[in-house]
Amino acid sequence: MESFVVRYRNLLVLLVLLVAQILGLAMQVRRANGGQGDGQGVRLIRLWANGIVSPPERLLHSSGSGISGIWNNYFDLRHVRQQNADLQKTVDRLRLEQAALLEDAKQGERLQALLKFQQKYVYKTVAAQVIGSSGTDQSRVFFIDKGKSDGIDRDMAVITPDGIVGKVRDVFGHTAQVLAINDQSSGAGVIMESTRIRGILRGNSAGRPEIVDVISDQRIKAGDKVLTAGGDQIFPRGLPVGEVEKVVNDPERDGFVYVILKPAAHLDQLEEVLVITATEPRFPPDQQQDIATSEALKGAEAAEQKTSEGMAEKLPGLIEPNLPADQQPLNDTSNPNPVSRPPVAVHPDRFTPGSGTAPAGAATPDNGQAAPGTPPGAAKKKPAPPATDQSNPARAPQGDNQ
C-alpha cells in the first residue's frame, strides 16, 4: 500500500486537487440555484484575491492616468476655447429644452400620484474609475476604485452619461466589482421606446446584450431605442440601454425571438462610470437648482421678447395711417435725427417721388428694389399715395431688406 502511494503520489495529489475543486464547484452551484450568494469561504477567497490585485491595479491606473492627465491638461489643449463656447451654447439650449420638458414631467408626476406610482429619480451618484477587469473574456465584470467606504453597496446601478453599464456585484473596502449588462448572469428590466414591448436584458455567450423571452413582433425594427423599465428595483426608469441591432428567432421555442442590442454605453472602453447611490421620488437639489435657472432663463427670455415687442409697438412708425401725408413722421422736422430724404430731382418727371403722377407699384425701379442712393424705406414708404405701399405689404420688407 505504501509503495502504491509513493509510486502514484503525483497522480494521487492531482486527483485530490481536482476532486476538491469539483466538489467546491458543485457546492457553489447548489448555493446559487438555491438563491443564496457566495459562501463564507468563497467570499474570503474573492476578498483575498481582490486585496492582492487591487492595490497594484490602482497604482498602474493612477500612473497611467497621471501621464495622460499631464498631456491632456497641459499640452493637448487645442480648440478648447471653441469647444467651450460650443458647449456653453449647448448648455443654454438644453436649459431651455429642460424647462419646456419640466412641464411634461410635472404633469407626469401628477398622473403618477393619481395612479399611486412613484417614479424614482437619480438622486445621488458617485463617480468611479474602472481600474481592472476579470482578465477573461468569459466573464464580463470589472473593478472600480470606489467601495464600501465611499457609500457603494451591492445591487447599485452603474451608468455612464451614454447609458446603463451594469450593477455592483460585490463590494470591498475601497473597490467594488461590477457585473456588466452583457454578462450571462446579469439581468435588467427593459422596454422598447416605440413599441412599449417589455423584456429582460441579459448578456449572451458572445458578450452581447440581448432581450430574451420576447414574443415575435413585426414592429420590432433595427434601430429602435431601448430604455430601462424600472421594474427591477435596480435601474431607474427611462435610462438609455441601447438600440436594437437585429432580431433572431429562438431556435428552441417557436414564436419567440432574441433581440440583440447595440449597447448605448461603450462597454469595452469604460474609463469612468457613475454609481447611483440613491434614488428619490423627487428631483435632486442640484437638478432643482438647474431647473430653476432654466425657468428663470426661459422667463427672462420671454420677458425680453415681450418687452421688445412692446417697445416696437410704442415706437413711432415711418408711416402713420391716421395722419395726412405732410404730417407723417418721416416729414417731422422736430426730429433731431431726421430720416435722410432723397435728393431733389433736377428734371422731375412722372417717375419722380412726390410728383403724384406715378402709377401704383412704379415707385421704385425693378419691381420694388430701391433706386441707388435711395435710403432704405424711403423709396417705398414716402411716395404718395401711401395706399400703394399698404396695398402691397409683401413687397415693402423685400425692398427694405435688400
Binding site: 492531482l14 486537487l17 475543486q21 464547484l25 477567497i45 481582490n50 490585485v53 476579470s134 457585473l179 469595452d268
Partner: protein
Amino acid sequence: MSVLTADARREFEIHRYPVLIYALVPVLAVVLQAWLPRVLGRFAWFDLPLVITVFFALSRRNPIQGSLLGGVLGIFEDALTGHAIGINGIAKTLVGYLAATIGILVNVENHAVRLFLTFVLSLVGSATYFFVVRFLLGMSMDTNWMSELYKALGNSLIALVLFPVLDRTKIRD
C-alpha cells in the same frame, strides 16, 4: 524533442529560484492579466498565469508543485470573475501537472520545445475550461476556437520572451 531514459532523467537540472521570484512573478501575472485587457481590449490574446504555471512546472519538474501552483493561480483568476471558483483552477491544475510530467520525460531546455509545449498546453487549458463550463456546470458557452488559437499563439510568443528572462533569475550552484 528527445525522450530520455530514467537514468538520464535524473541528470536533469532542477532549477531553483529566489523566494521573491516565486512570490512576485505569479502575483504580477495575475495583476497584469486583470489590467492589460482594459488597455488592449479584445486583442488581449494571452493568459499570463498559464504561461507562468508552465514555466515553473517545466523548470521545477515537480508535478505536485506544478499542480498546486496552477490550481492556486487558477483559483485567483476565478476569484476575480463573477463565476464559480474552480473553473480555471481545474484547468490550470491539469496544465501544471502535465507540464511538470512532460518536463520529467522530455528535455525541455530548448526554446523551441518550450514554445511548442506552451502552445499545446494552452489549448489543453482552453479545452479543459470548456469541458468544465459546458459539461460539469451545464452553462452555455460560445467558444470561438480561433480566439483560443490566437491565445495559444500569444502565450507562446510571451513565453519566447519571458522564459529566457526568468531563466536568468535562477539560482546557480
